[in-house]
Symmetry: C2
Subunit: 306 residues, 2 copies
């Protein structure tokens, strides 16, 4: 086996109250990534898309993630990587994470599956560091593991796979840019203990609701007393989109990652399709272009392409 093709899914991080720990994998969109093992000890990257991302492996998230893997095995070989991105960079649904996770998962197949999923997350986090300055696992954990994941700790890395019921997400991506620095700047450094208590009570009940498949409790638990109040003004018509979604039967939702995408969870595809229409209608008056789609929550992360 000289070449492996994988699909690396989009992911939602910062799931409502679960800022900096809770994420899930979408079934679509996904990036297509082909990795070939080559004799030369180098990494070569090419893009079959129009996003103009860097191909210098030291400036490419897939490149630095693969470099971490090659260094770990003290390799005398290298990789050629061909990336077709379907997840738009800057959308807030884990575009950089899909590139780095897809690359390391495909490379691991070529090496006979010698690494654990947690080790793959660890390599892919180098890509996140390049993209955002921080070795965070909020998107790479669900991208590798699939389903809902909770990053209990980053150093040392401790990822919890959560039990969850069948769910559908509607994701709207307004075509605006939110700079990571701006999304961070609006966050408070200090918060009230009383607000923190509300937040961790909701995180606990959200995890319990997922485990029990209790959708009413899930809906009640999707409250964010800390991050959403600070960031919602960065996304035009955020409140209108959320209100219209809830009125149409969505269980709850919020900002995906640090935005600008907004996601809403629904218990069935039919409801999600109605919510999609309601979200589109609520966004239309902004005059801002947007993409919107429905996806099942995927229990698998990066997977071999058929």
């Amino acid at each position: 086996m000289d070449s492996v093709r994988v699909h690396a899914p989009a992911t939602v991080a910062n799931v409502v109250c679960g800022f900096d720990c809770l994420g899930f994998a979408l079934a679509e969109p996904y990036d297509e990534i082909v990795v070939r093992k080559i004799g030369e000890p180098v990494i070569r990257i090419s893009h079959l898309d129009d996003f103009g991302l860097p191909t210098d492996p030291e400036r490419n998230v897939a490149g630095v993630a693969l470099r971490a893997m090659l260094d770990a095995v003290d390799a005398d070989f290298g990789f050629e990587v061909e990336i077709t991105k379907n997840i738009k960079p800057g959308s807030g649904i884990g575009s950089s994470s899909a590139s780095s996770c897809g690359a390391v998962a495909a490379a691991d197949h070529l090496l006979g599956g010698r690494f654990t999923k947690a080790e793959l997350v660890n390599f892919a986090m180098e890509g996140e560091k390049l993209a955002s300055g921080a070795r965070h696992a909020d998107n790479v954990a669900p991208c590798i593991f699939g389903g809902f994941t909770l990053v209990r700790s980053t150093e040392p890395l401790d990822i919890v796979q959560l039990k969850f019921p069948p769910l559908f997400a509607v994701v709207i991506h307004p075509q605006i840019e939110i700079k990571t620095a701006d999304a961070r700047a609006v966050l408070p450094k200090q918060i009230q203990l009383s607000d923190a208590v509300k937040q961790w009570s909701n995180v606990g009940s959200l995890v319990a609701a997922l485990a029990a498949g209790d959708l009413e409790l899930l809906a009640r638990s999707m409250e964010d007393h800390i991050v959403e109040p600070a960031r919602r003004s960065l996304i035009p018509n955020f409140d209108q989109v959320k209100e219209a979604s809830l009125a149409t039967g969505a269980l709850g939702g919020g900002i995906s990652g640090s935005g600008p995408s907004i996601f809403m969870l629904c218990e069935a595809r039919k409801i999600a399709e109605a919510v999609l229409d309601a979200m589109a209608e609520a966004y239309d008056p902004t005059g801002i272009d947007f993409q919107i789609h429905v996806s099942e929550i995927s229990s698998t992360g990066v997977r071999l392409a058929e």
Copy 2:
């Protein structure tokens, strides 16, 4: 049926990272409470113990909880209550909560079970308000429901019963007094967002660990970055007790309620008995008297006495 006798168990609140939301019920100790329905529209309270608690129903936690229940049904009758406390007041394992929960649960039996458990919690919270000034449900929720409970919200009241594996607790009660006001005064009003993220990540993984019966994850999740660092100095030899327990095989633990009791969770009775010895040995040098015992976590809360 004119008279009902119940056992109302001790409870542990503020379970490590789950400050102000997470609690569980012990099988023992428990208070014994007998309630009789009487024709006069009054509440009469007597104590068959030596703790000298008030018998004036307006100054007794069981009295005010029963008053809330009688008011809710616009009653033309009353109750006589006989309380034998085995849970020492001020121990930090839900003594006041056992009195008020036992009284309302017994009274509900006499009224044919007309109230839900959540309604009983709501009445019993009046007792907590009298005892501590706040209508909190941290102890009354596990005392009524049994097992592990998470109070997602107090207003409106939203209690989540958590799935959990068989577990044993060792509880040591140093014979010192910690005033609630002091335990509150040492808490920070504001906390770092980064610390809060660690805390809610641990709350989420603790709930996931209980649901999955993953005891290793449970052990890793029992970290408190906020409350324990502020309160541990109120309890002599807290660190020594904790270290000795963990070294002897306890999964983890911390301050019960706002202290002074310390609890440690263990996966088996045999381990818990060894941990009991280790805790006692670690406490001995303080010269402070203490009580210590092992109890299973009880899946039932207040129960009819046989």
